[in-house]
């Protein structure tokens, strides 16, 4: 069960099933405002599923999860119109979230994308696409940021810059839960290591 509206992020006895495979079970953790958590584990263990589950895009198999009302998720998909210049594509989400125009400029500056504001997204490189996804995430005023491999394809300077934005979000009482294989330059209050469950009982 997923309940919105709490201050913190709190999972109790959380289990997730994809297809007929049990990914993880009995997951318990709490993140208070201003705290960051890091999910680690091998490929396919369920890190992305955990983030999608918290975002409400998957139903938990059992257990409860309490989340803040506003959540932002940044995964490997753009969710930006490829043919539009970056600022116009971001403007769609800004107007959907009732954010003022200036927030787009701020979000692009935070992701070091200001010089690419008028370039259509289909021309972006791998790293630039990732920064555009991050800019889209910075644009939301969400309390909880769920970041799936946020540093993928970023150069060292961009990872540093990402660290600054994450730091600022935590300072204002935001919560971050990230899954990353690349070391992120912030200190995590919680390490969540998912391990592969042995092939065992198929849930009924």
């Amino acid at each position: 069960m997923r309940e919105e509206g709490s201050d913190n992020l709190c999972a109790k006895a959380l289990s997730c099933v994809r297809g007929d495979k049990l990914l993880f079970r009995d997951l318990n953790f709490t993140l208070e405002p201003g705290q960051a958590g890091l999910v680690t584990g091998p490929n396919g263990v369920g890190k992305s599923s955990l983030l999608r589950l918290i975002a409400g895009l998957l139903e938990p198999f059992s257990g409860t999860i309490h989340v803040p009302t506003s959540v932002a998720i940044c995964d490997d998909r753009m969710a930006l119109d490829e043919n539009l210049p970056l600022q116009d594509a971001l403007r769609f989400w800004a107007s959907l979230d009732d954010r003022p125009e200036g927030d787009c400029t701020d979000a692009m500056a935070k992701a070091d994308m200001s010089h690419l504001a008028e370039v259509p997204i289909r021309y972006f490189s791998t790293g630039q696409r990732q920064r555009a996804r991050l800019a889209r995430t910075f644009l939301t005023a969400a309390d909880l940021w769920l970041l799936d491999e946020p540093a993928n394809g970023l150069d060292t300077a961009s990872v540093e810059l990402l660290g600054q934005s994450l730091q600022a979000h935590l300072k204002y009482g935001g919560i971050i839960l990230a899954a990353s294989h690349i070391t992120l330059p912030i200190s995590f209050d919680l390490q969540l290591e998912l391990t592969a469950l042995e092939e065992m009982e198929t849930p009924q």
Partner: protein, 216 residues
């Protein structure tokens, strides 16, 4: 809520017209209308008698053309997920899609029907009836397209399956729509309106349920 709806519709409409996808059904429609007189010969009476029905069938087939770009691209690009995370329900997304698709599909189709009826020699009251029946049916055709696109999203060969799904669902529209051309009393148009209204009303729920089921 209303603001979000407006934003979504505006994005879809702008994208449809900018990508040129809007004109594809129009060109198809005009080609079908152009080919028909070549196929049956330039007999004026025959064309007058059958032209309206052919234009109706062409409208149904034109419905199939935009199926693959109604729902699938937004699922693939993560747009749909980002909307859901903001608490916007699948039904509302489908409703926005219905309206935006109708805005990009209905008016150009009616314009094409006006041009094509000239090729069939339709004029006067029959022309008015044809345009009225198509105008009443375009929201339902847009709704069917959105429903079928949501149902077949993620499937291989979605296009062919979409064609199969459209045929039974569109039969009531075709019966009353094409029927209205020969009907003097106007009751066929009323039945057509009823069918159209029904299809439009169930579209957000049916398409929303299909989108929900896909996430399981």
């Amino acid at each position: 809520m209303i603001g979000a709806l407006k934003t979504m519709i505006w994005r879809d409409v702008r994208q449809s017209y900018a990508s040129g996808g809007t004109w594809l059904p129009v060109i198809f429609y005009l080609s079908a209308a152009t080919l028909f007189p070549f196929a049956v010969g330039p007999d004026r009476d025959l064309l007058l008698q059958t032209g309206g029905g052919i234009l109706w069938i062409a409208a149904l087939l034109a419905t199939l053309l935009p199926l693959d770009r109604l729902v699938q691209p937004d699922l693939d690009s993560g747009f749909h997920d980002q909307l859901l995370v903001r608490g916007i329900a699948d039904e509302l997304i489908a409703f926005a899609r219905l309206i935006s698709h109708w805005l990009a599909f209905g008016p150009p189709l009616l314009f094409a029907a006006l041009l094509a009826s000239g090729l069939m020699g339709l004029e006067g009251p029959p022309l008015v009836t044809l345009l009225a029946s198509l105008a009443i049916a375009t929201p339902a055709l847009a709704g069917l397209a959105v429903m079928i696109a949501a149902l077949t999203a993620g499937l291989k060969g979605a296009g062919a399956l979409g064609g199969l799904l459209l045929v039974p669902l569109a039969i009531p529209l075709l019966i009353f729509g094409a029927g209205s051309l020969a009907d003097q009393s106007g009751s066929a148009l009323l039945f057509l309106s009823a069918v159209s209204l029904l299809l439009v009303a169930i579209t957000p729920f049916a398409a929303g349920a299909a989108l929900k089921a896909m996430r399981e």
